[in-house]
């Protein structure tokens, strides 16, 4: 059974959580187990939850942690099995990375010299290649917590690294694969992965770009992609979200059973006063012209 144990120690202002843990390990309890190696936020081994959020212990200064009683709570990462103390089993994490076929798949013969690529394209990729596979985003992903099958932010960002690589020839099939259940449409956009990433990889933003690329490439429509398209369409028409219409058009009227399954939730929302006062049917808001102009502007500029 998991349990917490409390240690008290003197610290310096410059100390990181890792410094403190190592001091405990060296002078109080040698059996305290964690992975750590570089001490410099490079190797990706010291991912753990600190005061409830995933972070690198070596990058987290004790003084940066707000807590009135100077108590710091560390736990192993979430969404993966614990092996011992702060060490988790990353096997599942890597299985998902492997699922996206994470290697360059160029088409055509290999050139004698290097592949030509713009400096911008390569600079852009440094953003995702900066991922050190520490697992922080996976630990705190809200979607993974309820759906263990979801590929998750790290694997999707890894896939983006190839889809956005001008040298890769397999982006069509990659996007087709990500379009399947458990793929790019399962992200709930909770932003946790962006918040906790120690390297600024911005997994969720990459997932959104993957979705846009998928739609742009005409991957077969799914609930996820229809939801995005209908969402935008309704805003353009009415200037506000029309939830009943969104549900009906996303799932299709042929799927009436599924739509009806939302009824209990709708009734509960009604009882708690969470439905808009104007009732279920929406008219376009005043000044809708300005919103439509925005849409036209965006369309012309992309």
């Amino acid at each position: 059974m998991p349990y917490f144990q409390e240690f008290t120690l003197e610290t310096e202002p410059s100390d990181t959580v890792l410094d403190a843990l190592i001091r405990i390990r060296e002078s109080v309890d040698e059996s305290l187990t964690l992975r750590c190696s570089c001490r410099g936020a490079i190797c990706g081994s010291c991912g753990m939850r600190i005061n409830g959020h995933a972070a690198l212990a070596c990058k987290t200064k004790l003084v940066s942690l707000e807590s009135s009683d100077a108590l710091v709570q560390v736990e192993p990462m979430n969404n993966m099995p614990v092996i011992k103390d702060l060490v988790t089993d990353m096997g599942g994490f890597w299985d998902k990375i492997r699922h996206v076929q994470p290697w360059l798949q160029p088409t055509g013969p290999t050139p004698d010299a290097e592949y030509l690529a713009s400096p911008e394209s390569m600079n852009h990729l440094t953003g995702v290649m900066g991922c050190i596979m520490c697992g922080a985003c996976v630990s705190d992903c809200a979607a993974l917590e309820v759906d263990h099958q979801f590929l998750g932010p790290a694997a999707l960002a890894k896939s983006y690294r190839f889809v956005a690589d001008p040298r890769d020839g397999a982006s069509a099939s990659r996007l087709l694969d990500l379009n399947k259940p458990n793929g790019m449409w399962d992200c709930t956009r909770c932003m946790e992965c962006i918040e906790v990433c120690p390297k600024g990889v911005g997994a969720m933003d990459r997932i959104m770009t993957l979705r846009a690329k998928g739609i742009g490439q005409g991957v077969p429509s799914t609930c996820g992609s229809r939801h995005a398209e209908v969402f935008a369409d309704l805003i353009e028409q009415k200037g506000r979200l029309d939830e009943p219409m969104l549900a009906m058009r996303t799932f299709g009227l042929g799927n009436i059973g599924h739509i009806l399954s939302f009824l209990p939730m709708t009734l509960r929302a009604l009882v708690r006063g969470k439905l808009p006062k104007s009732g279920p049917l929406h008219r376009a808001i005043p000044g809708i012209d300005r919103i439509r102009r925005l849409f036209r502007y965006m369309r012309n500029s992309t």
Binding site: K61, Q101, P102, L116, S118, N123, M133
Partner: protein, 571 residues
């Protein structure tokens, strides 16, 4: 019971050298596995920031110039036949990496871009922002996943085993997660276990760099070479010793003392901040010793490089300076000092990674190969040039991999009994059974590291090195008695750290032994009691064998010179 694990080639280590070797052996048709104490992408190669050298002919560069810069950088201790191979094959390997997917920085024509690095007259360093090592390591791991090679992940190797004919027969290791020992049989073993940085404290190296590969080979009977040559990098942070990449100076940063003077003018008027590392580190230490430092440091000034360049090309160290030194590089100079960084020495190999000599000039272990920082060809001699180490890992990792595959085809599967792993298993059981006492592995590691840093740093002399030599047996004694408080089987990292300490002690002993033996100053080995380079007596390598009683025994090999006779070295 017989071991379920039998391979043609087993690679010990999954850093750049190990993965490159495994892929090459696989391409050579061998049945390959790789064994590593941490997940491959956690290997220390990920820390390399600055870049990787190559003279690309279609860029108007000449490999001979790269080779010459390397020879001069090595203070003429590097073996020139090996250096020629390194420089000549570099272009091919850079392109291979690019084709595998490394996102090297590009110039405006969309071709590979370069930056300047120390000790070289041209910009020939290819790079990915300032995380080149990580970018390469992850791509090699991508290739490893593609080839679907078996990986013994989080397995700790304790020794290399030899059969009755003295040939290498495999590796004994235990799975950290379950604490279970196994014998992994292999016709050829490639040791690619990285450097020994943690033998010194502080060091730029990660906590896992404990010289295991060198110690394991040494114990198995292979000689170590150039062990006295330990590189101190000119720009490390006070405290933990984290590295600020040489790329900062490559991009134009200055070094200044407390008087605001760019002091390198007085030490290396032509190359200034980009002289060889040994030269710059010594200059800094003199400034500090003579009172022109600030709290034991000098300053690295990046301000004039501009925000844009710092963000695009030095983003990681910008973050690092902010997180670990609380300094904004675009606004303030940062205090830095020389710090232990790299081991030029290692397991003696030939240009195909063999630890034994087919001509019989030295005696090693047939079937045992080595590559990467663990190995010593010698390419780097007395001082390694920045960005030559990553190159070393891919060129000679590849060559060792190919050669081992061919070798494995020519020999039979070794015959040894599986009880061969019993010795290590018993050793560990004894270690776990020791009665509790006050001393700890951590305390011994710290004493070792500070001793080495104190007496075998930038400046050395007989007295200091002798002091270190007198301290080591005491540390070994303590190691022989120290208890491990965690008695568990599962993920026992206390046990791992205790075993690493044993490896570090072997490495330390050979470093001190080599350093006392070499009575001259050359490259990183600077003795205040022998301040001159002495080509007449010391243009040779020191090999160190382990005697049956465990003590080191020296031997010598001449430096191999092809086209560059030793000259006075000025920058």
């Amino acid at each position: 019971m017989t071991t379920p694990y039998t391979f043609d080639v087993l690679v010990l280590g999954a850093g750049l050298a190990g993965m490159r070797a495994a892929l090459a052996a696989h391409e050579g048709g061998a049945k390959v596995a790789i064994l590593t104490k941490v997940h491959p992408v956690l290997s220390h190669s990920n820390a390399a920031q600055g870049g990787i050298n190559a003279a690309l002919t279609d860029r108007g560069d000449k490999w001979e110039d790269h080779a010459y810069d390397t020879v001069k950088g090595s203070d003429y201790l590097g073996d020139q036949d090996a250096i020629e191979i390194l420089a000549e094959e570099a272009g091919k390997d850079i392109l291979a990496l690019e084709h595998m997917g490394v996102i090297f920085n590009r110039n405006d024509e969309g071709r590979l871009g370069t930056r300047r690095f120390g000790g070289q007259k041209r910009a020939r360093t290819f790079f990915v922002s300032d995380f080149t090592g990580q970018a390469m390591l992850h791509v090699l791991y991508e290739q490893l996943m593609k080839a679907n090679l078996p990986v013994f992940e989080e397995w700790f190797a304790t020794s290399v085993v030899r059969d009755d004919d003295g040939r290498c027969a495999g590796v004994v290791a235990f799975e950290i997660r379950y604490g279970k020992f196994a014998f992994i049989k292999a016709k050829a073993v490639i040791i690619a276990a990285g450097g020994l940085g943690r033998v010194f404290e502080p060091s730029t190296n990660a906590m896992i760099c404990t010289g295991d590969g060198m110690a394991i080979a040494y114990r198995a009977g292979a000689p170590l070479m150039d062990m006295e040559m330990v590189q101190y990098h000119p720009t490390t942070l006070k405290g933990k010793g984290l590295l600020i990449t040489e790329a900062a100076r490559g991009e134009g940063a200055y070094l200044v003392n407390s008087e605001g003077e760019r002091f390198m003018e007085r030490y290396a008027p032509n190359m200034m901040e980009l002289a060889s590392r040994d030269v710059v580190s010594r200059a800094e230490q003199i400034e500090i010793n003579e009172g022109r430092g600030i709290n034991g440091c000098v300053l690295l000034d990046c301000r004039h490089l501009g925000k844009r360049l710092i963000q695009d090309r030095l983003g990681q160290i910008f973050e690092e300076a902010k997180s670990f030194a609380n300094i904004d590089l675009t606004e303030e100079p940062i205090p830095i000092r020389p710090g232990m960084h790299y081991s030029m020495g290692g397991i003696k190999t030939d240009v195909d990674g063999r630890s034994w000599d087919i001509q019989g000039n030295w005696e090693g272990v047939q079937g045992l190969f080595a590559a990467g920082e663990t190995a010593c060809l010698s390419l780097h001699g007395g001082n390694r040039l920045g960005a030559n180490s990553l190159l070393d890992t891919v060129v000679f990792g590849r060559r060792a991999g190919s050669c081992s595959a061919a070798y494995a085809q020519s020999v039979h599967t070794p015959r040894v009994s599986d009880s061969i792993s019993d010795q290590d298993r018993t050793m560990v059981q004894d270690l776990l059974r020791r009665p509790p006492q006050a001393d700890t592995v951590a305390a011994i590691r710290l004493d070792l590291g500070t001793t080495m840093n104190h007496h075998l740093g930038v400046f050395r002399d007989q007295e200091g090195m002798q002091a270190a030599q007198n301290i080591l047996p005491g540390l070994r004694d303590r190691w022989g008695r120290v208890a491990i408080h965690d008695k568990g089987q599962v993920f026992n990292t206390s046990l791992v750290r205790a075993l690493e300490l044993g490896m570090m002690l072997d490495c330390a002993e050979t470093i001190v032994f080599g350093a006392i033996t070499r009575k001259e100053s050359r490259g990183a080995h600077f003795r205040t009691d022998f301040i001159q380079r002495d080509d007449e007596n010391w243009l040779k390598h020191i090999l160190i064998y382990r005697n049956p009683d465990g003590r080191p025994r020296p031997d010598y090999l001449p430096v191999r010179i092809t086209q560059w006779e030793p000259q006075v070295r000025v920058y």
